[in-house]
């Protein structure tokens, strides 16, 4: 993970098919590191998630998230969580989202070396990273949707440091929709799907996924 974060060209090759996504992820991470060290009561948690359906990790996607919060209680912090998500959707390739959510974090024993923690994200996943394609007489558009992500995990402090690494599992719910419409740009292309005669389709997706997260924070 650390290796990937320090070597952006590798990230580009391995994870990101285009520069736009890389740029967004890097910007978020840089902001996290820069802002992090100075503010008092500020807390940061960066996580890599495997987004999948179950224990065998079939058809997995991933998420990169950075959380910036303020502590308002000894055990609790509240902040913004953002990053990038990639969900494989059956038969339709990968869908990309830019999540932006409010997150509440609860840490059971902030001073101990090892502690249970829980988090809850409530937000929105923007779908603009998916290209709205128009091919022949078909046009389709994506729209993002509600995002919910509760997580439970353990955090382990590094030796003589406020920094910790974490391991958590959770449930991630992401909603989005796709609107297909067939329009007739010319007389030779009809305003229906040539095979099934469809004129328009509205598809609403509710993705209920299981996530496993590994992270670092302070």
């Amino acid at each position: 993970m650390l290796f990937l974060l320090l070597n952006p060209t590798k990230i580009n090759c391995l994870l990101f098919p285009d520069m736009k996504r890389l740029f967004i992820a890097m910007l978020a991470l840089l902001a996290a590191f820069y802002a992090g060290a100075q503010t008092k009561g500020y807390t940061n948690h960066n996580e890599f998630s495997v987004i999948t359906y179950g224990p065998a990790f079939l058809e997995s996607g991933f998420g990169l998230h950075t959380y910036h919060g303020l502590q308002f209680h000894e055990n609790m912090s509240l902040g913004l969580n953002t990053g990038l998500d990639r969900y494989p959707v059956n038969g339709e390739g990968s869908k990309w989202f830019l999540p932006l959510s409010a997150k509440v974090n609860y840490v059971e024993f902030p001073d101990r070396k090892r502690s249970f923690f829980a988090g809850l994200d409530l937000g929105y996943g923007f779908a603009f990273l998916n290209k709205n394609i128009s091919e022949k007489n078909l046009k389709y558009e994506y729209q993002g949707g509600v995002l919910v992500n509760p997580q439970l995990g353990w955090r382990f402090k590094f030796k003589n440091s406020a920094k910790y690494w974490s391991l958590a599992a959770g449930y991630r719910y992401q909603q989005y929709s796709r609107k297909d419409s067939y329009i007739s740009p010319s007389a030779s292309l009809q305003d229906t799907d040539p095979w099934y005669g469809k004129t328009q389709i509205d598809k609403k997706y509710d993705l209920h996924r299981f996530t496993l997260q590994i992270g670092v924070g302070f």
């Binding site: 004129t199 209920h208 299981f210």
Partner: protein, 406 residues
Amino acid sequence: MKRIWLILLGCIALSSCDKIESKGMYLASVPIFETMEGIRAKANPVSSPAPIVKTGKIYIYQDYLFINEPGKGIHIFNNGDPSKPQAMAFLSIPGNVDLAVLDGKLYADSYTDLLTFDLQNPASPQLLTRNKDVFKMLLQMDNFNNRPDRIITGYRDSLVSYSQKDRYSPYDRKELDYNQVNAGSGQGASMARFTIANKHLYAVDQTTLHLFNVQNASKPAYVKDIKIGPGIETIFPFKNSLFIGSNTGMVIYDITTASAPVELSRYAHIRACDPVVVNEKYAFVTLRAGVVCGGQQNLLEVIDIQDLTKPMLKNTFTLENPYGLALSDQTLYVCDGKSGLKSFDASDVSQIGNKLLETHKELMSMDVIAGPKSLIVVGQDGVHQYDYSNKAKLKALSVISVTKSN
């Protein structure tokens, strides 16, 4: 604490899935159903001449030319002068595909019914009799059905809305999706093919020969059904024999006793569509390969039928895509699909395929009748008539053209 943790984790892992809800609209050809009663009640046959949209079977009786519009009815022309056929009337008969005329009476099918019209005034034929539910086998939606209470009289385009909910998880047992796609083609129509011989009307559909006694011409009496086998397509009477072409062969019946046909022989050939014509000694059969008929070869077969109980293949010639054929004296006319209309010298049957007299390549033709005054050819663009007094050189007389529907 740890236990709760594990339970929660397990619950999440097991309930993960995608739920996809689709809502949409699609254009579909929706069948229009009617009952036979409804069709009968609405019957109002005679109307003024109508444009021909599609040509089906053609029939000549005296100076009149009958052109079937498949599924719709019959166009009646005065063909006294073949160079100037005059449209007289359109007989609207839903579900009609074939017709035959005897002694001034016109017999036509209408889905399951057999109708008899009086042709005393051919501009206004009068319905005399309706034999109900005599043709039970109907071709509908590319399937056969025998439900006269639900007849597909047509299709209309409708915008249909649908909604569908899917659940997906890679851990679910995969089940096969059956996507039922109905090709919305094929108007409902009876499959009947008619012919009249020895005062009897013989109508064949896909599997069965229906026999009617028309000694009382205005009131056909149903005699019986004879099961012949699948894939029947054509029927051709010659003297006291009936030649029935199916897509696997030709069946010859003796009809000396018209009400009790006796099967004489079966001549089997490769699977193909096969119109038949016959003279004293030989039967000429064209085999056409295609999607509907199956088969690989396009052939003209000459079959020796001097002994009707033992038909024997005499010669085979290759054609391009043969449909109907007609025989006039020593000339054989073959509609060879896209290759046009061909005429052959048939005086020597062993050489017939090599003795091409003429090719009218521009004439994409399906069927041909050698009439008393003209050679009538059904082409894609209409019904053509030719003066064929000089066998080697056809002379165009007239065209009844088809109105293209969009």
